[in-house]
Symmetry: C2
Subunit: 238 residues, 2 copies
């Protein structure tokens, strides 16, 4: 687990102010005056696939913005079973429990190489009360997290597994030229996202490939020959 730290408060024109994805993240609406209020350092970190970012139950001292890669949020039940409750994508905020002074409700780990910003909770909780702009942004991000969680729940966890996989792909697909490509994760993780065993994921992928819905199954991605075809399949009510 190698980490490259770049400590960075708002200084003239650097970091957050010039962040390439700032428009989509927490500080989108902040102006220079707001940045001036940030004193604690915001770390810019990289993690390798498989690394844990934080663990369920830990006191939440930081919240995070994901810049690149994917992160899974795994909620463990008392009986040892667990579910991946959210798949964090670039631009998303996670670990917001920090704002409530609570401990993390799930553990976060990288499922690809990731690049993220680690923000001390103090920055947000004080700044949030002084800056209406940040306040709005926090509430908005929180709302997005909830709505992502709910639609994830509803779409990725309803119906036959092939249908769920289809919806999953449509949601994550990136168009590149003529074909679309969707990422794949460890079958075990995908099983935890959709509440099936990993063998079932494997079989469903094979079956979907046979039907021509997806192609070029590899460890980390699939191709979608026809988005339209996959969409129709995902909506087949029977």
């Amino acid at each position: 687990m190698k980490t490259i730290e770049i400590k960075s408060a708002w200084q003239g024109n650097s970091d957050c102010g010039s962040c390439s994805i700032r428009s989509s993240v927490l500080f989108a609406e902040l102006n220079e005056e707001d940045f001036a209020k940030i004193h604690s350092p915001i770390d810019d970190l990289r993690f390798e696939a498989g690394s844990g970012i934080y663990a369920q139950g830990e006191l939440a001292e930081h919240l995070y913005t994901l810049r690149e890669g994917y992160i899974k949020l795994l909620h463990l039940n008392t009986d040892g079973s667990g579910r991946i409750v959210r798949l964090v994508m670039p631009g998303d905020l996670f670990g917001m429990e920090a704002l409530l002074g609570e401990s993390y409700a799930h553990s976060a780990s990288a499922i690809s190489n990731v690049h993220l910003c680690k923000i001390p909770k103090a920055i947000i909780s004080t700044l949030g009360e002084e800056s209406p702009r940040l306040h709005r942004q926090i509430v908005k991000k929180w709302g997005e997290a909830l709505s992502q969680s709910e639609s994830w729940f509803s779409e990725i966890n309803t119906g036959r597994i092939e249908i769920r996989l289809a919806r999953f792909f449509l949601r994550l697909a990136k168009i590149s030229g003529d074909m679309a490509v969707a990422p794949l994760f460890k079958r075990e993780d995908m099983g935890l996202m959709m509440d099936v065993k990993f063998e079932t994921i494997s079989r469903a992928l094979a079956s979907m490939a046979e039907q021509g819905l997806i192609s070029n199954i590899s460890r980390l991605s699939i191709q979608i020959p026809s988005i339209e075809k996959l969409r129709i399949f995902s909506q087949a009510s029977i």
Copy 2:
């Protein structure tokens, strides 16, 4: 659907200020000064079981605090399938999409007779930016909603249906004397909560009764002879 409206801004000692469940809801930390800033009326409403409060896609103009009863939040997918993404319980806030100036992400309907407060979004969005106390409270409520949604997701939707039902009962049980009682809803609704068909719910209830885990199954509730026994059952990893 009968509704009794009581318009009420903060006036001396009435309404919100003296609300019996205020400590657990949105205005918990507000003081008199904050209440003075509330001008739009907050309606106090009752709905019969089965009534719709708002529909998915509608522009969100109000948020709601539930005082009594249960409300289901149903998220519809494009293909017509749906899931109950959250079960709102007394003290919970719902319809917070209003704060984001968005439309509702799911529809809300009463699954028992309910008593709730309907709060115009303007109150919160303006007041929220002026009052750090309310800001904190909003963020907190939002966090609770997310965490409820996630643990719901993880606990009520993982494993065999009987296990899920057990966790569901443990979560909703109310101790009354020697026995605990847990509410039941329409089998159809319970199926939508747990992603099974209503017949499966019915069968699972019967089977759990045979095993002595629950008793006195009626349309609207069950009794739990031994919480401890049910807890052990719910954690049986095999």
